[in-house]
């Protein structure tokens, strides 16, 4: 054992899931922006971009099942359970730490341990992304892949149009999450520590 304490934080299935998800979602974001921008891309044609988006979407969706099953059958699910006690207080405290405390010698209020994989703020944002935004983007994505399944009109508005808006709004939300996710991941012992952990599985405490 090394001098500083290491915990085996991320099991193999989770790291594989995370890796596929990362590559898939990055592809989806770039192809999605490219399609929606309406800027003609001569380097990779529109058709190819659509194909990339479709394939990446299907892979990320199947991968999402892996995430669901993993959380169903392993202890990982515990990380996603929110306690009613201090429902708002706890994430606020964490936010205060990020915004002020960490620059003023404050210790992390919820240090990670075997029992606590995510700090409260992290937990909340993961829950919102993984159990709300991602399912919505998957469902609306498949609907757009098979547009004939979409309701023709909702009142006087095209159903396809509404689905497309929902899909791109959720996609945008996930993109913003990704940016913040990557940045916050750089707040560790050193900026690349957390990135190493998600690859190796071991987290230095």
């Amino acid at each position: 054992m090394e001098s500083d304490k290491k915990i085996y934080f991320y099991p193999k299935w989770l790291r594989i899931w995370h890796g596929i998800n990362a590559i898939g979602i990055i592809l989806l974001i770039f192809s999605g922006i490219s399609m929606n921008s309406g800027v003609e891309n001569n380097f990779i044609g529109f058709n190819a971009i659509v194909n990339i988006h479709n394939y990446a979407g299907v892979i990320v969706s199947i991968n999402y099942l892996l995430f669901l099953l993993g959380n169903l059958f392993t202890n990982n699910k515990k990380s996603y359970i929110v306690k009613p006690k201090g429902f708002l207080k706890r994430p606020m405290k964490q936010a205060y730490y990020y915004a002020w405390g960490m620059f003023h010698g404050m210790k992390a209020p919820y240090p990670l341990s075997e029992k606590r994989k995510f700090n409260p703020l992290q937990k909340y944002s993961y829950i919102i992304v993984m159990y709300m935004a991602v399912p919505l983007v998957i469902v609306s994505g498949f609907a757009l892949l098979y547009p004939e399944t979409i309701i023709d009109r909702v009142y006087n508005i095209s159903g396809v149009f509404l689905t497309a808006i929902l899909h791109s709004a959720m996609g945008f939300f996930i993109s913003i999450f990704l940016i913040i996710h990557l940045y916050v991941a750089s707040i560790g012992k050193n900026p690349i520590e957390n990135f190493k952990s998600i690859v190796s599985g071991w987290h230095h405490v």
Binding site: M35, N36, S37, G38, V39, E40, N41, G45, F46, N47, V50, Y98, A99, M102, F103, P147, E148, N156, I157, S158, V160, F161, A164, I165, S168, A169, F172, I176, I179, I180, Y183, I187
Partner: protein, 352 residues
């Protein structure tokens, strides 16, 4: 009475001229009947009386010739699968099948742009007898430009320019003058859907049915082309979401040279020149903006810029339809997130 494209005084002229024709016709019928019924002589004052009655009747008829097809002299046969007549030669009542190409859709006829005209306004009056005399079938019928050409009241429709464009098209190149306007635009039932409809889907369906009436019909296609029609679905196999494309864009979107100043481009191109690049439509400067979405009633809503403007539009094409509000909002959120991250990063570096 509906005369959508005539000005008020022109409408009146049309109605009047139709009334006069109608009276003339009724008058002829009376004389005929006189012969048949052997009323050799009707006193002049009686004739006048009859004329007044007929005139009043004709007023109430106005131009609604097709209100009652079952009793219309032509439509009682030409709107049915079968027709009956008295065979004078054999002295028998006969019932026969109507040639399916000569059966008219009376509802479409009544809603068509030419519903103010009776059959014999264009077709020979001799058609009113049966069997129709053979020679009338060889009589030239009026072409579209005979009525619509050089007329100021039709100037907005630019019939002459349509003719010019059409003569460049593959239809004219292959079949020459035999390819008349009516090959696509049935004079009987044509409606100006693209100008009047506020639904893209409706415009698309109406327009595509014009093409499909031949391109999906072996007999009518071979009449012009001299060979069988290629299968539409097969030759468009390369197109992703084919069915969806067919429902939401018109054939002419890809198969014509779009002329910006014309309502509908009539220069149908050879198949080699058809659009095959996705980005021609799926881009910010989409071809569709100059064609399908350019109709004022649709365009006003599409380019309104407001949420409601775009939301009420009927179609959604990636790249061309965006909500400006959401676009601005997403840029603000993105910049805010980036600003937050950069500020945080600066403090991290400074406080290290």
């Amino acid at each position: 009475m509906i005369l959508p494209f005539f000005k008020k005084h022109e409408k009146e002229i049309f109605i009047k001229s139709n009334e006069i024709r109608h009276i003339e016709r009724l008058h002829k019928t009376v004389i005929k009947n006189e012969k048949n019924n052997q009323f050799k002589y009707i006193p002049m004052n009686n004739r006048l009386f009859l004329f007044i009655i007929l005139y009043c009747a004709s007023l109430s008829l106005k131009a609604q010739y097709y209100d009652d097809p079952e009793n219309h002299q032509c439509l009682k046969c030409h709107s049915n699968q079968t027709y009956s007549f008295h065979n004078d030669l054999m002295d028998t009542e006969e019932k026969r099948l109507m040639n399916p190409y000569y059966i008219l859709d009376t509802i479409a006829l009544k809603n068509g742009v030419h519903s103010v005209f009776d059959c014999t306004d264009c077709h020979s009056y001799e058609y009113t007898s049966y069997p129709h005399p053979a020679n009338v079938k060889l009589e030239p019928l009026a072409t579209c430009l005979d009525c619509h050409g050089g007329d100021e009241s039709f100037a907005t429709y630019q019939f002459e320019r349509i003719q010019e464009e059409f003569q460049k098209s593959v239809h004219y190149q292959v079949y020459g003058d035999n390819f008349t306007c009516s090959k696509c635009h049935s004079q009987h039932t044509y409606a100006t859907t693209a100008r009047t409809s506020s639904s893209v889907l409706e415009i698309v369906e109406y327009s595509n049915n014009m093409c499909l009436s031949c391109h999906n019909d072996m007999k009518k296609y071979s009449l012009v082309a001299g060979h069988e029609n290629p299968e539409i679905v097969d030759i468009h196999n390369w197109l992703p979401n084919q069915e969806l494309h067919f429902q939401h864009v018109r054939c002419i979107e890809c198969h014509t040279q779009v002329a910006d100043s014309l309502m509908v481009s009539h220069n149908i191109l050879e198949k080699e020149l058809a659009v095959r690049k996705c980005a021609e439509c799926h881009s910010a400067n989409s071809k569709l903006k100059a064609s399908l979405y350019k109709y004022q009633n649709l365009q006003q809503r599409a380019e309104d810029g407001g949420v409601l403007g775009v939301l009420s539009n009927d179609s959604y094409v990636i790249g061309t339809h965006q909500l400006p509000l959401l676009k601005v909002l997403s840029i603000i959120i993105f910049l805010a997130a980036m600003a937050g991250i950069i500020t945080h990063l600066i403090f991290r570096i400074l406080k290290k």
